[in-house]
């Protein structure tokens, strides 16, 4: 118990004394994960929309497929991409292994099924008449699509938060694809793994506190937005 308390106190001291190394790690985590999710959102929304409103052969199969992808372990995605990106692999010439781009690709693949599955549920729950009304009123397909997005914005926000939570706290794929290189591909989860293996529990907890704090802020934000939604439906 003493170790836990001492480590936690030391963690807060590290965070608020402006330890440059820790803040650099935090910065890398946010940059990579934010970029990954921003790139994943547009295709995910379109796929989810097509799955919900489209009517074509194989639709149910695709829905099951994306739901199955939800449970793929991150290390499997990491290993698969590792083989693809390795110099011996099909995309080896790009030299992307052990770069932030590789980490981003892994996180992109990780968050895509979450975004699709949750957005798909939101689209299904939405009143189909929003789409039909918009179309009747003369909106083209794009504006009608945006109208539906706006109608289900809270569900989409929840999907994005869940997806972001998964990729920013993910260690397996980031470790394999980024290589945990100091000042470059060392993000919060891989740094926690490293510090723990070195017995530096305070640093590990400090970074864990950042993740917790982030989760708290994001959830607070969601709550706030949803609250507004109920007043102005």
């Amino acid at each position: 118990m003493d170790v836990l308390i001492a480590s936690t106190l030391e963690a807060f001291r590290l965070l608020f004394s402006g330890n440059a190394e820790i803040w650099e790690i935090i910065g890398i985590s946010f940059r990579v994960s934010t970029l990954a999710i921003l790139l994943a959102i547009p295709p995910a929304l379109i796929i989810a929309f097509v799955l919900a409103y489209g009517n074509f052969f194989g639709r149910r199969f695709l829905i099951s497929l994306f739901n199955t992808f939800l449970s793929i372990p991150a290390v499997v995605i990491g290993l698969t991409l590792f083989i693809v990106l390795s110099r011996q692999g099909p995309m080896g010439d790009l030299g992307l292994l052990f770069t932030q781009t590789a980490m981003m690709m892994g996180q992109f693949i990780l968050c895509l099924p979450i975004l699709i599955a949750m957005a798909h549920t939101s689209f299904q729950a939405a009143d189909r008449r929003a789409w039909e009304t918009a179309r009747t009123l003369g909106a083209n397909r794009f504006y009608a699509f945006v109208t539906v997005l706006y109608e289900i914005r809270f569900g989409l926000l929840a999907a994005m938060l869940a997806a972001y939570g998964r990729i920013i706290s993910e260690v397996g794929a980031s470790m394999m694809l980024g290589g945990n290189i100091a000042h470059y591909t060392r993000n919060i989860p891989t740094a926690i793994a490293l510090e723990t293996s070195k017995g530096n529990f305070a640093e590990g907890i400090a970074l864990g506190v950042v993740l917790l704090f982030l989760a708290f802020v994001l959830n607070g934000l969601l709550h706030h937005v949803q609250g507004k939604g109920s007043i102005h439906p």
């Binding site: 940059r31 970029l35 921003l38 110099r87 918009a134 945006v146 109208t147 290189i181 100091a182 293996s197």
Partner: protein, 275 residues
Amino acid sequence: MFPTRHFIRIGLLVSIYLAYSISAIAGNDTASLLRLATTTSTANSGLMEYLLPEFTRDTAIEVQIIAVGTGKALRLGRDGDVDAVLVHAKKAEQAFIDAGFGVDRADVMYNDFVLIGSPDDPAHISGSQTVIEALEKVRDTKSAFISRGDDSGTHKKEMSLWQKTNYSPQGDWYKSVGQGMGKVIQIANELGAYTMTDRGTWLAYQSKSNLALLYQGDPALFNPYGIIAVNPKRHAHVNYEGTKSLISWLTSSKGQRMIGEFMVNGEKLFVPGAR
């Protein structure tokens, strides 16, 4: 119906962010960059963080460290995913060079392996004449022993020593955990078990552990580190020039002096060993 302006504004902000991030990420890949796969024993002890900034100051070459076991490091070198490897497993290194995967091997430094365990030493290994005798005592008393089990240099060394006892270790007492050296020391600490570690990692972890150094000094425990350049004939993209600079810097009198002066908790970890 919905605030189109908001979407445009958000879209604009997002595009600016994307453009900024992509340029920031792309900007990291410079020509004077070198990737070195090395073992957890050199990286976790802090040696690399101590040496490499000085190397970068001297040569303007930036080195990125990927810390893995020797087995994986050699695999990364073989596949051309790194430019050089710094490892400690003589036999595996020789095989790597013979297969044409690597060139220009140079001795850099050495330290040694030691046996650590619970201070009450249930198998009484501390008075042993040889490391083989010590391991036989562990086996005969079926005292808990933690093995790296990860095909690292330390693991290869441990296996070669067990082989000399004419007995492949197995049973509940022998636990192969497949983790890095630091983790293994922590596990041994929690279980009060024996394990074999390189001296460097042991010195770095000593203060965080209840274990004691129980056996050392057998020449069979000698642990030399070598650096090998990935063969540029096999992988045209590797930074061979940069690797040559790193090899000559590490084996120069300055690099060797710095290795010899590196200390953790007031103790020297490595002995310079370039020839």
